[in-house]
């Protein structure tokens, strides 16, 4: 701003900017009050849960809090050889309290995650420690089980010393930090999460592609048909929105199952034999079909809103200038729909990547996605910190995709309608 504009005074002699601010203050407050409910709602239902998820996913205080004396004593221990007597004593005292409070089981489970076979060692110690005499705990503990002489078990305890850990994130990509503290992959037969991640990306990608291929002609038709037909078509497009997601998924189950309508039809027209009905459900096919149908409107609507604004005279101009209909389409119409394609693809992809109910119902074992795994850990294993970690990884993945998209296409070019 030039210095001239700063000198301008209003009729009352107050600087113009100041009096403008004063005049608009009321409006600003009003506007802020109007968005306050939404802001509060977002903070309570979005920001706080995500923050909580994050703290949960890295929280590892449980073991730390159960063995306070042990970890204090371990501070001096370098982990190369068996810890000194103080550590054994501290561990004995900590463990005694846990056994007394009947919370030793949790420690056993947690340490067993770190080192297989730890549970039985600890259980034996719980039984024997009642008869311990004062002094020389190292000897007494080592006598209970020979594994106490193995330094690996002590290292396992020490690994759980920090109050925060990223091990859940490592687990999410099938990695862990081993006894030496190095990050390594889990054995090949146990790498389930990576399969799920890649399958989730694959399903999201193909669902987006199928949605795009089907939505583009529909949106074009919607944008060019006369009003009375386009309204009817629009209702057809929006109809799925008015039906419950569960109902739609269930109806796909009726259609796609081996004794379902689609298979009956295939048999009836002789495409497949009655004893050779293809499995179209409880695998990836079912997930593709149902998700594409459910997410289709999210692709149609942004495309439609962009196509609606493209004047038909542009295509005519292209043709009158000598372009064949195909060239005119790819050189003129298609480039102008890119903002809509971007918006639709981003929307469908992000929705698909976190889709849960449909893959759970029609996906079977080979059609479940990462979100189903998250739900499994939430409900069945109760490993909430792992579920949180995977949820955050999913969220980060979506943000990364959004960032890449912004770099490639530019978010300003998105048009949602």
């Amino acid at each position: 701003m030039s210095s001239d504009t700063q000198k301008i005074l209003s009729t009352d002699g107050i600087p113009l900017e100041e009096s403008l601010k004063k005049a608009e203050k009321k409006n600003k407050i009003k506007a802020f009050l109007l968005v306050t409910p939404l802001l509060l709602f977002l903070i309570i239902t979005y920001i706080i849960p995500i923050a909580d998820m994050f703290s949960r996913s890295i929280d590892d205080k449980m073991v730390t809090n159960m063995l306070p004396k042990t970890y204090k004593a371990m501070e001096q221990w370098d982990g190369k050889e068996l810890p000194p007597e103080e550590v054994f004593e501290a561990f004995y005292l900590d463990y005694k309290i846990l056994v007394k409070n009947k919370t030793a089981g949790r420690l056993q489970t947690q340490l067993n995650y770190e080192k297989n076979g730890f549970k039985s060692v600890l259980k034996k110690l719980a039984r024997k420690q009642k008869k311990f005499e004062e002094g020389n705990y190292k000897e007494q503990i080592m006598k209970v089980h020979k594994r106490w002489r193995n330094v690996d078990y002590w290292r396992a305890i020490k690994r759980r010393a920090p109050a925060y850990t990223y091990s859940k994130y490592l687990k999410g990509v099938d990695m862990y930090s081993n006894e030496e503290g190095k990050i390594v992959q889990v054995s090949e037969d146990r790498r389930i999460h990576r399969i799920l991640w890649s399958r989730t990306l694959e399903v999201a990608f193909f669902v987006t592609l199928f949605c795009f291929l089907m939505a583009y002609p529909i949106a074009h038709l919607l944008a060019t048909l006369p009003m009375k037909y386009s309204n009817l078509l629009m209702i057809c497009v929006l109809l799925p929105f008015w039906t419950s997601l569960l109902v739609r998924t269930a109806s796909w189950m009726i259609l796609l199952q081996q004794q379902g309508l689609v298979n009956d039809f295939f048999v009836w027209i002789g495409l497949v034999g009655d004893d050779n009905r293809p499995e179209m459900m409880y695998n990836k096919t079912g997930t593709y079909v149902a998700m594409t149908q459910i997410l289709l409107p999210f692709m149609v609507l942004p495309l439609y809103s962009v196509m609606k604004t493209i004047s038909p005279s542009l295509m005519r101009a292209g043709k009158s200038l000598g372009a064949t209909p195909g060239v005119a389409f790819f050189k003129i119409y298609f480039p102008l729909t890119i903002p809509g394609i971007g918006a639709g693809c981003l929307l469908v992809f992000i929705l698909a990547i976190g889709y849960y109910i449909t893959p759970a119902l029609v996906g079977g074992a080979s059609g479940t996605l990462i979100s189903n795994q998250i739900a499994y850990h939430m409900k069945s294993t109760l490993d909430w910190s792992f579920a949180s970690a995977m949820g955050l990884m999913l969220l980060t993945g979506v943000l990364v995709i959004y960032w890449i998209y912004n770099k490639l296409v530019g978010v300003d070019n998105i048009k949602l309608g």
Binding site: R316, K319, S320, L321, G322, A323, T324, P335
Partner: protein, 361 residues
């Protein structure tokens, strides 16, 4: 090579969209090579439909259109080689001005150097040489229009169609663009078919004007003829201002006729009336009726001034004359102090050949 008189030929063309109403009825129209022909008419008169049929975006329901003696009804638009300027410019918003102009050349697979040469030439023709790298959205309306004109001409089409190209511009810009388009037409000699509903535009720009109404060409003639000698009352009403008297022929002889009105009688020039007793509408241009005429005129009437509107260079006077209270006069603003005051009675005179007795409305 002599110019073809029927370079573009509409031969008995009918067009109907719904199978019930004919939008264009039995259209016969010959356009000479290098001519600037305007299709003028009210909205819904079929003029744009004719243009779209010529461009290939609509097919004639009946009849045939010939371009340079070749029937073109079955040729798709992109093979006709006809340039077109659209009402809303239809510039490709995602391409620069240069790319817009290069588009028709690129689809014709013309070499890069030639494209640059031709585009530069076309841009300088519309004096936009500096604007090649701009996007259409960064140009003003007039500049966009010039780009659209340049784009329609850059591939040297034999015919250029313009569909109300100046409709979206403000009045001053529209006038200067009219001259610009006219000069471009004169300098490159391309055949132009121009559609407009603005008669001023049509009169300034065209070699010939086809006045459309109700799906038919009412009159096809040069601008001056159209204005001075309208062949029917629609054209007389549509082009310019016009005073009318409705009456009945009471006598017809020696190239003039007497028309009996409700109040009084006038002498007129029989154009489309032939016999006594016929109903007629007599049309007189406002500037052909004079106040207190010095020369002797064969129509002399007294009228009462009902309204005076000052227009700067002239004054519009509304009179009640022979029962017609809508009789308009245009009085030039001269030092001559005429007795134009509200309520005054004045003498009005005109020549009978300027009072054209046309078909009844």
């Amino acid at each position: 090579m002599s110019k073809k008189v029927d370079f573009v030929k509409f031969d008995k063309v009918d067009k109907s969209y719904d199978g019930k109403v004919l939008v264009v009825k039995d259209l016969n129209l010959d356009i000479e090579e290098g001519e600037f022909v305007t299709m003028l008419g009210p909205s819904g008169s079929g003029k744009t439909t004719c243009l779209m049929m010529l461009a290939g975006f609509e097919t004639p329901t009946n009849g045939e259109i010939y371009l340079d003696n070749n029937p073109i009804s079955n040729i798709p638009p992109h093979k006709r080689g006809i340039g077109m300027v659209f009402q809303n410019y239809a510039l490709f918003p995602h391409m620069t001005v240069f790319e817009n102009l290069a588009f028709p050349l690129r689809v014709r697979k013309i070499s890069k150097e030639d494209i640059e040469k031709k585009v530069d030439k076309a841009l300088s023709m519309v004096s936009l040489s500096e604007f090649g790298n701009r996007m259409p959205g960064q140009l003003s309306g007039g500049q966009q229009q010039r780009v659209a004109v340049a784009r329609a001409l850059v591939f040297d089409p034999s015919v250029v169609l313009m569909d109300e190209p100046l409709g979206a511009l403000d009045k001053n810009l529209r006038e200067s663009m009219q001259y610009e388009i006219k000069h471009i037409h004169e300098s490159i000699g391309v055949t132009v078919v121009y559609v407009t509903h603005d008669q001023g535009e049509a009169l300034t720009m065209s070699n010939r004007i086809a006045v459309f109404n109700d799906g038919k060409v009412q009159q096809l003639s040069s601008p001056d003829k159209l204005y001075e000698e309208p062949v029917n009352s629609f054209v007389a009403e549509f082009i310019g201002e016009n005073n009318t008297f409705v009456g009945e022929i009471s006598d017809i002889s020696n190239g003039s006729c007497k028309v009996k009105l409700d109040k009084g009688e006038i002498i007129a020039n029989p154009i489309s009336v032939k016999s006594v007793g016929e109903k007629t509408t007599v049309s007189i241009r406002p500037e052909r009726a004079l106040i207190n005429p010095k020369d002797k005129m064969d129509n002399n009437q007294k009228g009462k001034i009902e309204e005076v509107i000052y227009h700067g260079d002239h004054t519009r006077v509304r009179l009640n004359l022979l029962g017609n209270s809508e009789f308009i006069l245009k009085v030039p603003n001269s030092s001559q102090n005429l007795d134009i005051k509200l309520g005054n009675e004045i003498n009005i005179g005109w020549n009978s050949r300027d009072a054209r007795a046309l078909d009844p409305k």
